[in-house]
Symmetry: C2
Subunit: 314 residues, 2 copies
């Protein structure tokens, strides 16, 4: 038995034949022809699938798709995806005219979270929260081994939980979202602020100009003992820790899994977060603790998680 | 077919025979004998049940119980309930020795939320978030018509979501929780602060001393145009609105239901919250909106919701 997982991105569409243990046994990619519109892209997805599977093979049981934007996972439609320039696209229905298999669609961040939970760092757990710390903060929630994505599949917007009313401006329009403090973008903003305020900081050696600042600057200089860098890292840990504690109180997951570039810090990041959270966790001593883990699947999480949309039903 | 719902409180234990439409057709109450310990209380619950049902009646299909504290709803145990002085009580197992029926146990706030969702203001919806604005902020989440209470039933602690890092001290030990801004306790604290800072405020006429301040003081004086009272109400609405928007992004419920004393303000409160939220909701125009409603069941929500723990399984 196997499924096809599709990861639709603004630049390329990735497809993989995924076995039930989450291994990608065959894959192919096509450029996302955004300008040509949804019909052409759906045709391309159909061809991509046919390039890696035999439609006569009864072991091929279904197709899962991760798509950016507001996806109605119950209906299999994409209501709005800005970076594809899609509005009200009946993705599952249109694709089913090309490939005759069950098709499930989910939001790309939620689907990647499902992949990481089912087959990556979360595979030993049934209840996980995944946070991806990148340009923004994405994420997803898996409960009882199944993706939880809210009414019409439009929940699970974990990055847009306000943790500081009237705080930093977020891209979503509100102020003080987790994303506005814990994305790599926010980390770099805070690093630049600290460098500007501290002309003697060692961060100026690591990143000689503000343009050269990366998500590494503050963390690497903190390890060397630079005080300004430490204040940036401490603030980052504090906001991320508070966000994670919020999710612990709401979902009480067995594990919170962190992905994205910032997680290149590995145990250095995890140890600081554990230290922060363990002192502040809600409830009595017997309350179930959550583990904190680094994601393992990288860019494959999308394809594998898309297949997981089918496997979680079986 | 009927169930028995039990609502265990620190002062009294309420029991009701609840039909499948959520009507309490018979009820009884017993004082909570905290000093006598769990065995005596469980015996009392057994007697309470036998006083309102006939164990030979096959229409009597199960018993649901709402209990304060850290309840393991999967195991039917109460791990820790401070105001009952209980630790590791096998409630369902012990009670099943007295009454031979399926028994489900849940946290009291979550169970009351289930009752309000299944049979009260939320009965037309399948996905709801309930917030009770009282001494603290309690709540619960119902998804697909079923109570969602997290791993081991210890999630759904909606009042302990930090919305202001380093903000007001919360009873849970963290700072800046929703409860620390939106409980009646917090409203009264902020009212007293505003009165102290504004000796000419009309609030001094409504509540001549700080001891006389209630959850009504700021709201009633705001309606009369008092500026200091308006600033208290505006702040209250802002924090509650931000909290509700957070839950909308996480759960994308069809409705958020508000209960507790503050909701005596009715449409005055709801209209202000709608106005706040509609301007700030995340996502494009086609995103599903949430309705904002006032709870309808009052103190019966606990008993009815406890029965709902059985009915949601049928």
């Amino acid at each position: 038995m196997y499924c096809v997982g599709i990861d639709i991105g603004g630049m390329s569409i990735k497809a993989g034949v995924v076995d039930k243990r989450g291994n990608i046994v065959k894959k192919n990619t096509v450029t996302t022809d955004v300008a040509a519109g949804p019909k052409k892209i759906i045709d391309d997805i159909g061809k991509l699938i046919l390039s890696i599977v035999d439609m006569n093979d009864r072991d091929f049981v279904g197709i899962g798709i991760g798509c950016p934007g507001a996806v109605n996972s119950a209906a299999g439609t994409v209501d709005c995806a800005y970076n594809l320039n899609w509005r009200n696209v009946a993705l599952a229905e249109e694709l089913s005219r090309i490939v005759n298999r069950p098709i499930k669609v989910g939001n790309d961040a939620n689907v990647a979270a499902l992949g990481e939970s089912m087959y990556g760092a979360g595979r030993m757990y049934t209840d996980t929260v995944v946070l991806t710390l990148g340009t923004g903060v994405g994420g997803g929630v898996v409960l009882g081994g199944k993706l939880y994505d809210g009414n019409e599949g439009k929940g699970g917007e974990l990055g847009h939980m306000v943790i500081q009313v009237d705080g930093e401006q977020c891209t979503c329009g509100r102020r003080g979202c987790l994303e506005a403090y814990c994305s790599a973008t926010a980390l770099m903003r805070d690093t630049r602020k600290a460098m500007t305020a501290n002309p003697d900081s060692a961060m100026w050696k690591y990143s000689p100009t503000l343009e050269e600042v990366s998500g590494l600057t503050a963390f690497e200089c903190c390890k060397q003992g630079d005080a300004a860098a430490k204040s940036v890292v401490d603030r980052y840990i504090k906001y991320l820790g508070e966000g994670m504690l919020n999710f612990a109180n709401i979902f009480r997951p067995q594990a919170i899994i962190l992905g994205g570039g910032v997680c290149g810090q590995g145990d250095y990041l995890i140890d600081k977060l554990k230290d922060y959270c363990i002192k502040r966790e809600y409830g009595f001593a017997g309350m179930p603790r959550f583990d904190i883990l680094i994601a393992q699947l990288g860019n494959d999480a999308g394809v594998v998680g898309a297949a997981g949309l089918i496997y979680e039903l079986i």
